[in-house]
């Protein structure tokens, strides 16, 4: 019989007019903790699956209340990687925020850069060039494949399958080579600029990507054969961590978590951006909303991303030599050789570097379909070159919030499987 030792009346600190923090009793009384009355029952034990744990995919901390082996309740504690991104954003020009976005969701850096550029361009009303849209689609889909590869590899390790981790990371290294050839960095890419890209793709990039797209499905088929009809994998994942469609909408889930529960909602189809409506790809949707369906949805998404990449590549062939940056000199730095020789270009160069790109007064929200879900950047600007507020709508943060609901009454090892299936990245959760 688990005893409730102190009666807890929840109060919350509020800031009263004089600025002192005082305690205000909350209207809501905590539901009394009903002690479990069974004679064979044991006392509940609090276990920390804490910040330093191999299975929490980062510094997430789960306080699990255990009755023997079954989980009574999971209380996630986050904030162990809170680095003050949004505060830092208010001290940066728009182009200086792009390196910050690599480090929020560090599994799909290029997709974050594209999202920020799109949000800033929506705020400033800038139209980007055709070739730039195709290159940004390629960047987003490469990031989606990389993120799903890391997810499938680490989730496989969590449930005991180590070999696919090595296969998938080998494919990921090939994509990292392409990413590094394009942006110079494996992980912190800072690919986009407001109004364009940092650089066009190097020659040999298209050949490398085409070669990757041709051989990648073969590895996926091998991993598919390892997992999909594997008795252990199905036993551990089917029917575990189920969330229904309406619940998923009520919990504001997004991305593979939402689609696995049967809700056919994908930002690329629902609110097309970057010309996604002209690409031919379909969106995988599950039915049961359990871990197995999330795996199937993410695996299928990798095939679809591969299809998009192939279509984008032959579009790129037609746009050979087209400009990637907007021609407006107040937004895009003039080329270096002209900046040194032409007086006007030097003035534009100087003004942009010293004062940054000014945004009109107003606010803009732009959501993109990131591998984890719908990532949205919300800029509020007061006419200066630094945003008043840079809000990140974090998909993993909102997806993780439903973990306590998924983990009621499951076994302890299922908590690890459910936590892995949500595909969380702590950099984006804690911002």
């Amino acid at each position: 019989m688990s005893t409730r030792t102190i009666e807890v009346g929840l109060r919350t600190p509020t800031v009263d007019p004089s600025g002192a923090v005082r305690l205000e009793p909350l209207g809501v009384q905590l539901p009394p903790h009903t002690p479990v009355q069974d004679d064979l029952g044991g006392e509940h034990m609090l276990v920390n699956i804490g910040p330093q744990h191999p299975a929490t995919h980062g510094v997430l901390r789960l306080v699990v209340e255990l009755d023997g082996e079954t989980v009574v309740r999971v209380v996630p504690h986050i904030g162990y990687l809170h680095s003050g991104f949004e505060k830092l954003g208010e001290y940066r020009f728009y182009n200086q925020i792009i390196p910050l976005t690599d480090r929020t969701d560090y599994l799909s850096p290029m997709a974050n850069n594209v999202c920020l550029a799109l949000a800033a361009e929506k705020l400033m009303g800038i139209e980007i060039t055709e070739r730039c849209t195709v290159l940004r689609v390629i960047a987003c889909e490469i990031s989606r494949i990389i993120s799903h590869l890391v997810w499938l590899g680490t989730t496989g390790i969590d449930l005991g399958a180590f070999t696919p981790f090595l296969w998938l990371f080998q494919q990921r290294e090939r994509l990292y080579d392409l990413q590094e050839a394009w942006t110079g960095a494996r992980l912190t890419t800072s690919l986009t600029r407001v109004g364009g890209l940092m650089a066009d793709i190097p020659d040999g990039f298209e050949a490398g990507l085409l070669d990757f797209c041709r051989t990648f499905p073969k590895t996926l088929d091998e991993v598919d054969s390892m997992f999909t009809r594997n008795a252990i994998w199905c036993g551990r994942t089917q029917g575990v961590g189920v969330i229904s469609g309406p619940d998923a909408i009520n919990y504001s889930l997004s991305g593979p978590m939402l689609r696995a529960s049967g809700v056919d909602y994908d930002v690329r189809k629902d609110r097309p951006y970057l010309g996604y409506e002209t690409y031919d790809f379909d969106v995988p949707v599950g039915e049961h909303g359990d871990i197995y369906d999330r795996y199937r949805v993410r695996l299928e998404e990798m095939y679809q991303s591969n299809r998009i990449l192939v279509q984008a590549l032959d579009r790129l062939a037609r746009l050979k030599g087209a400009p990637i940056n907007v021609s407006d000199p107040r937004v895009i730095l003039p080329p270096k050789h002209r900046a040194m020789s032409d007086m006007e270009a030097m003035i534009f160069h100087f003004k942009q570097v010293m004062e940054g790109v000014k945004a009109p007064v107003g606010e803009a929200y732009f959501g993109v379909e990131n591998p984890k879900g719908e990532l949205g950047y919300y800029f509020v600007s007061d006419g200066t070159a630094k945003p008043v507020r840079w809000r990140i709508r974090p998909p993993s943060f909102i997806n993780l919030a439903c973990l306590p609901k998924l983990c009621e009454g499951v076994l302890l090892s299922d908590v690890i499987a459910i936590n892995a299936s949500i595909d969380i990245v702590m950099g984006e959760i804690d911002r």
Binding site: G50, P51, Q52, H53, P54, G58, V59, G79, Y80, L81, H82, S83, G84, K87, L88, E90, Y91, R92, P99, L100, D102, R103, Y106, L107, V150, T154, F165, L166, F169, Q170, R172, E173, Y176, R186, L187, T188, D382, T384, K386, M426, G427, D430
Partner: protein
């Protein structure tokens, strides 16, 4: 990295504590065994942890340097690799894990954020984990390339090869002082001073 005499290059000076032949041979044996079987405790927090995973995966294999076995509990760990930025909320965690690691233990601060707070000169970020725990090797980079990390690990192995068993204060436990700080307060403020680009970022408009 097999059984070979230590190369007498400038890098490794044999510690002066062991004059006679017997202890140097024992030192050599112990250091050779320790440096080639370092069990890392991957304290992976952020992006550097992903690069650390890539280093441990098949392409840049860490197993070549004897670091095959990752130990996620401090009880069997030899080297604590802080891969990623360390917020203040995580400071007591790394401090407790470092205290719970048995001697002999070393630590690598992987990445610019762990070594100096990196681009995060904000209210929530520890400006360098050497204000919290003693650090042996700092690996620069954001994130350091796998080769960079492997070079840092090689440096640590070279440092271990230069140690001596008789040198007692190498294995001293530097605990948090009575004033609740690991380093003197003045030193922490000096080390955490904003430098370079951070200096101009006081105005937010």
């Amino acid at each position: 990295m097999g059984l070979s005499l230590p190369v007498g290059d400038a890098g490794t000076e044999v510690s002066t504590m062991s004059p006679n032949w017997v202890t140097t041979r024992l030192d050599f044996l112990a250091n050779w065994a320790r440096s080639n079987s370092l069990w890392p405790m991957p304290f992976g927090t952020a992006c550097c942890a992903i690069e650390f995973m890539a280093t441990a995966a098949s392409r840049f294999d860490l197993a070549r340097f004897g670091m095959e076995r990752m130990s996620y509990s401090p009880r069997q760990a030899d080297v604590l690799i802080c891969a990623g930025r360390l917020p203040f909320k995580l400071a007591p965690v790394i401090r407790r894990i470092w205290d719970q690691m048995p001697q002999p233990k070393w630590s690598i601060s992987m990445g610019a954020c762990a070594s100096s707070g990196g681009i995060f000169d904000t209210y929530a970020m520890v400006q360098g984990i050497d204000t919290i725990i003693p650090v042996d090797v700092y690996v620069p980079g954001c994130p350091p390339r796998p080769e960079g990390l492997i070079y840092g690990i090689n440096l640590l192995q070279k440092k271990i090869k230069g140690e001596s068993l008789l040198d007692a204060d190498l294995r001293q436990e530097h605990l948090v002082g009575p004033d609740g700080l690991f380093q003197p307060a003045r030193h922490i403020d000096e080390v955490s001073e904003p430098f370079g680009n951070s200096v101009h970022q006081t105005r937010s408009s």
